[in-house]
């Protein structure tokens, strides 16, 4: 039963991804700017322009261009970036891990922080502490990642320069990484100094991405927890001698968490969208930052590759979230 539904979802995901590919391809072919015009030196001969055009396959008709591109993508060939003159797949493989590390750490921070504040707010319910938690959280809800990022730049970067303002690692740190996952690799290989440097570079972008999500998690989870806390089973559990904290964590949380997981999944895709601007602000070398450059330079092969990667990420996340929701709900588990 579950296997069938997962298979169905995977098929749907493939179709969606194909749709995204088609839309992006068509959309970018109607772009007014000419990518070749941006890479040639002024005064190049018409012949050399035509040669370049042919080299990037831009002289064929649209459907042919699409088929050629699709065929190549299926075998893992995303083409060559026009602005960076490098293999797109290589570029993505180099930059994607940076963004993944950033997004996942931000997600963890958001879940832990948002969850903790939600539990705190629930424990403080109907006390003077509750409106304080609600007000602070309400304020955080109104602050988007863009504003968080810049506020952090000012406070932790300039006023109290605690953390580095840009990049992923201090250029003075001499290390050879075997993988592009700097954070994980430095931790696994126990190079703590390097790990600390990489982590320090991540603090501000992680906070900028994680804090808005934390605020959303707090609001939704606290509401669900409060709803669960007035149920009779909580009353009975209290009579069994459970402490307030245990009531929230053991009894209420498992029933309240379903909607929160579903919402966190959707919001996590927004968070990944947010890496685009946050990476830009912190000059962090991920795919988000690269996406902006690609758009500005009208680098078609790179944009296509990037959008496909983003699309695939969203689809995988949605799939995982659906499975998690089922796993946490015994009612759905037994269908």
């Amino acid at each position: 039963m579950i296997a069938v539904s997962i298979l169905k979802r995977l098929l749907m995901a493939a179709i969606t991804l194909f749709g995204v590919a088609v839309i992006v391809f068509v959309l970018l072919r109607v772009v007014p700017g000419d990518p070749i015009a941006m890479m040639i030196s002024p005064g190049a001969s018409p012949e050399s322009i035509a040669a370049l055009r042919a080299q990037y396959g831009l002289d064929a008709s649209l459907p042919v261009q699409f088929l050629v591109w699709l065929k190549a993508v299926v075998v893992g060939d995303f083409g060559t970036s026009i602005s960076l003159r490098r293999n797109v797949l290589e570029l993505l493989a180099e930059r994607l891990p940076a963004t993944l590390e950033l997004a996942i750490v931000a997600l963890l921070v958001a879940v832990v922080l948002g969850g903790a504040v939600a539990v705190l707010g629930t424990l403080l319910r109907r006390t003077p502490g509750e409106p304080v938690v609600d007000t602070v959280n309400g304020l955080c809800l109104a602050v988007p990642d863009f504003v968080w990022a810049l506020a952090l730049v000012l406070v932790l970067g300039v006023a109290f320069p605690v953390f580095p303002l840009s990049g992923r690692i201090n250029p003075g740190v001499q290390v050879d990484f075997a993988t592009p996952f700097y954070l994980i690799e430095s931790l696994v290989t126990l190079r703590f100094k390097v790990f600390a440097d990489v982590a320090a570079h991540m603090v501000m972008p992680v906070l900028a991405l994680g804090l808005p999500l934390a605020a959303i998690i707090t609001r939704v989870l606290k509401e669900a927890l409060l709803e669960a806390m007035v149920q009779d089973y909580i009353l009975l559990a209290r009579l069994k001698g459970m402490s307030s904290l245990r009531l929230v964590l053991q009894e209420a949380l498992r029933n309240a968490i379903g909607p929160t997981i579903a919402l966190t999944g959707v919001q996590f895709t927004f968070l990944i969208g947010g890496t685009v601007i946050v990476e830009r602000i912190f000059a962090y070398p991920g795919i988000g930052n690269m996406a902006i450059d690609a758009v500005i330079n009208r680098d078609l092969p790179l944009i296509q590759g990037l959008v496909l990667v983003f699309g695939a990420l969203f689809i995988v996340i949605n799939l995982l979230v659906d499975m998690l929701v089922v796993a946490f709900n015994p009612r759905l588990r037994h269908g």
């Binding site: 009353l235 009975l236 709900n329």
Partner: protein, 286 residues
């Protein structure tokens, strides 16, 4: 007097939400060990306020203005919170009204049934499992092994109520408060559940406060009955005495009004307005 398990005397309370309106007026009642006492009244009569006071779960909006609730000679109302927590659930337990919401939908029956055994009695999970199996057999669940591993949504309403009864008796309490435990169930299941509570109570020698609005239920299960209106005790005594020889006009009217198991074909007559007026005059409201 000191021999009484429970003795409520002169208990008065007001609701702060409704501008200090009295919701209990000088209520007194006592309960012996192993006695089943019906607490009867329409909604708002104060019966569930008494039940909540017994369990130490009065809402913040209810303020006790006088009286004592002595359980084995100690006043529950003035007892330190920690001592109160040791009594609640262990010596005084609850059979809740709605089995739909009284079981945690996210936890297996075994976990919920053995919480108290592990937390309060310090049983190992194996001992608790064995005890839980026995309890489920006692409440006449046919396939206890399966039920222990089930989630609440896999059980019928009657089954859930049986589980909750098992949980209420798990720690061998001296007093069980049954808060309208059959109102959410089918009529056929109601009878079985009533009989089960009666059986469990006899086997364990437990006293029961049975909150209900149904005099028919009282006739079936209770040794004695206390009838309330607007927070005031209207009539109290042994069930047989009260039902066969009601002293108050309200009791008589109520007996004529209710749908009853013993006489399902009896006509329903609403309580006459004059009776309410008499009641209000006696109690002294408006």
């Amino acid at each position: 007097m000191t021999a009484s398990l429970l003795s409520i005397s002169g208990l008065s309370a007001v609701s702060d939400r409704e501008g200090g309106m009295p919701i209990l007026r000088d209520v007194s009642l006592s309960l012996e060990r192993g006695e089943v006492r019906g607490l009867v009244g329409e909604s708002g009569a104060g019966k569930s306020t008494i039940a909540k006071a017994l369990l130490g779960i009065l809402p913040r909006t209810v303020r006790v203005t006088g009286g004592t609730v002595q359980f084995e000679g100690r006043d529950l109302l003035t007892m330190p919170a920690r001592e109160l927590r040791d009594i609640m659930g262990a010596q005084i337990s609850l059979i809740p009204q709605d089995p739909q919401t009284a079981l945690n939908p996210g936890r297996r029956i075994e976990a919920q049934l053995t919480d108290g055994l592990r937390l309060r009695r310090g049983l190992s999970s194996r001992e608790a499992h064995a005890r839980a199996l026995k309890l489920l057999e006692e409440v006449q669940i046919r396939d206890p092994q399966r039920v222990l591993h089930a989630f609440p949504h896999e059980l019928s309403g009657g089954m859930r109520q049986r589980v909750l009864i098992a949980a209420a008796f798990a720690l061998e309490p001296k007093l069980v408060v049954a808060d309208e435990p059959t109102t959410a169930l089918d009529v056929t299941v109601q009878k079985q559940i009533l009989r089960l509570i009666r059986d469990m109570q006899k086997v364990h020698g437990t006293a029961v406060i049975f909150v209900t609005h149904d005099l028919g239920v009282v006739a079936q299960i209770c040794d004695s009955v206390t009838l309330l209106y607007a927070g005031k005790v209207i009539e109290a005594g042994a069930t047989a005495d009260v039902l066969q020889n009601p002293k108050h006009a309200y009791t008589k009217a109520l007996m004529a009004a209710g749908p009853r198991y013993d006489r399902p074909d009896a006509g329903l007559e609403p309580v006459p307005q004059a009776v309410f007026e008499q009641l209000r005059a006696e109690i002294g409201i408006r």
